[in-house]
Symmetry: C2
Subunit: 363 residues, 2 copies
């Protein structure tokens, strides 16, 4: 088999005996339902990544001593396939996500994957399970590639064996009742990541780090937390599973990729689009004081998060050390709306894909 | 069944059909061989921890969507049982480790365990697998309790189900050829943990964080890394899987438990012993500059790590930004030796257990 000029191992396919029952649109939530099949590949030192295969989605056997349970050497990705208005299946910026997967791998001492090989496996899996891609506007098929370390040995060390999985989950519309600006707590007690740590990688550690903060914020009535930097506790980093943008005086500002935040694919998409639209965009350190001062001067026009799940999530309220500010009267801003409409337009096929974001699975 | 006044669920026991072959002393390494049985308990929201049972050690089925693989909500412990000179089996400071297990649980939003119940399960398991506790001086049975989150759902949230395991591994002598002072790199690029993070918990995230630094240090010829604090990058924190002590001008100094390091049980044991012996002990911030200055003035008498695996690990060399210093001519210090002899003496039964550190499994 050949893909993009690279010769690859044949992917063996073992299908389910009976196809699962497809969920209806109103049964879709996030990450609860999985399709019939999954893609798997193994790694062994000396042998490299091998045995790419598609098998029925189902349980896997692990020894209790499997190293991932103890020392968390693991990474993941989160990307999406869409059913477009003319019934094609396409994946949004697949190579960007898979390249980030490899960057995460290097932070965790996990062996690099061949992006084209894994992409070929993913696309074959999508072709096989394409009936599972829901069609209603706003719904999509969430794609979760992940790698876990599998040595059955409990010393702290880099594993010599790994398993890569790709599992697929049809997900419901994020905004089933229109935009709903979120209320965000600026976290001043817990810290998510620090320079010199793993904040730039998509790895379990960062999410384990966030559980207590999230739980406390929820109890206090907030939807999410906005992280500040570990050293000065004042520079804005990112939100739970989103990057953050500020529109101040017509300038689009987002924290620079300083080493402790995830370089979001949606973040990059927004920066590219804004530049293409002739707006001034800046990636730099921005302190929470500066955001509050801009608000006081009436210059804070919009705040929104960006991420694969929500695409754009308008922020209606920020609360820092008990001080609350309202953004744009708790209404979705014009720029956020325009971004959302454009990006989802391309994803669902109603807007021409002029930047070649979409990779077609079916032709 | 009743234990320490608490009424507990009966522990069901299902034994192996055929006992495994016991390893010989020279086959023992660390964490590679496991005993015949393991202890398991399940947690479900509403039902609490339930179904404590002892079953043959073996593989377990997990769905690929199991939350621990993705978001790392998990904790563990590491403690030891010894075969004493008069052939009794005893566990070192069991309650201290199990209480720390619960403190780690709270940092990770994992439901608290009943320490006495888990201890009863552990002791029953030890009784059953007591033949696996090796007898040679320096060998022991390493005990690894751990909890993983088991919801089969890939949203970032606190799991509603968990599994607790206790697995047992006979381990070889740490110092089979006598003490061997280690060479340690003071890490100035990577950071392990930060205040407001998970550094005080025994959770996979912290060990995932250390892989790259360890790998680079090994390549450069060092045994381990000494972490500095995340904010100032100058205060000493701890070593890979050990706390660190300095003997300066006859004072025993160790970094205070400031929120980013693990409160080691061996660390506590050393502090208690040193105080009992009438030495001056101090838990406080200590900068790496201070350590180097003490060395320059000829006042740095000893440096050693403390941890369950090694008990005491003398440090012979420190290297910070390329500047190397030798400690005590790369020889094991008197105080380190005295601590090691006393603690291991109590563990193996040659020194009376005047502080009640040992919990007997067999009578
Ligand atoms: C921590 C974190 N930051 C930011 C993002 C947004 O990144 P992306 O736009 O690639 O989904 C995510 C989600 O993927 C995330 O988990
Ligand atoms: C990060 C870390 N610090 C310190 C220690 C030493 O703690 P203890 O003496 O309880 O084994 C360990 C090992 O348990 C550890 O993993």
């Amino acid at each position: 088999m050949s893909f993009g000029g690279i010769v690859m191992t044949e992917i063996s396919v073992s299908k389910v005996e009976q196809a699962g029952v497809l969920p209806t649109d109103d049964q879709l939530g996030f990450g609860k339902i999985f399709t019939d099949h999954m893609f798997i590949m193994d790694y062994e030192e000396g042998k490299g990544w091998h045995s790419p295969r598609i098998v029925p989605y189902g349980e896997f056997s692990f020894l209790p001593a499997t190293i991932v349970f103890h020392y968390g050497q693991a990474i993941f990705e989160g990307m999406k396939a869409f059913r477009t208005s003319n019934d094609q299946i396409a994946v949004f910026r697949a190579n960007h996500y898979l390249n980030r997967f490899n960057r995460s791998a290097s932070h965790l001492c996990i062996p690099q994957i061949n992006v084209e090989e894994v992409k070929a496996g993913l696309f074959q899996l999508l072709e096989l399970d394409k009936a599972w891609v829901p069609s209603k506007l706003g719904t999509s098929l969430y794609i979760r590639p992940f790698i876990v370390s599998t040595d059955g040995y409990i010393g702290v060390k880099v594993s010599s064996t790994y398993k890569l999985f790709i599992i697929l989950s049809p997900v419901g519309a994020y905004y089933s009742n229109g935009f709903n600006p979120v209320s965000i707590k600026v976290e001043d007690k817990y810290v998510r990541a620090t320079k010199g740590g793993l904040g730039q990688a998509k790895t379990p550690a960062n999410y384990a780090m966030s559980l207590n903060a999230q739980a406390e914020a929820h109890e206090q009535g907030f939807d999410q937390v906005l992280w500040l930097d570990a050293v000065h506790r004042k520079y804005v980093e990112e939100v739970g599973t989103m990057n953050i943008f500020f529109k101040i005086n017509d300038e689009i500002i987002t924290p620079e990729l300083s080493g402790s935040i995830l370089g979001g694919i949606t973040r990059q998409t927004v920066l590219e689009l804004a530049q293409n639209w002739g707006l001034k965009t800046t990636e730099r350190q921005i302190s929470i004081e500066e955001v509050y001062e801009a608000h006081a001067k009436g210059e804070l026009q919009e705040v929104f998060g960006t991420g694969t799940a929500a695409v754009i999530s308008p922020v209606g309220e920020l609360s820092w050390k008990g001080q609350k500010i309202n953004i744009n009267n708790n209404q979705t801003g014009e720029f956020a709306k325009k971004l959302f409409d454009f990006v989802t337009g391309v994803q669902y096929g109603s807007v021409p894909d002029e930047f070649s974001w979409m990779d077609k699975v079916t032709v």
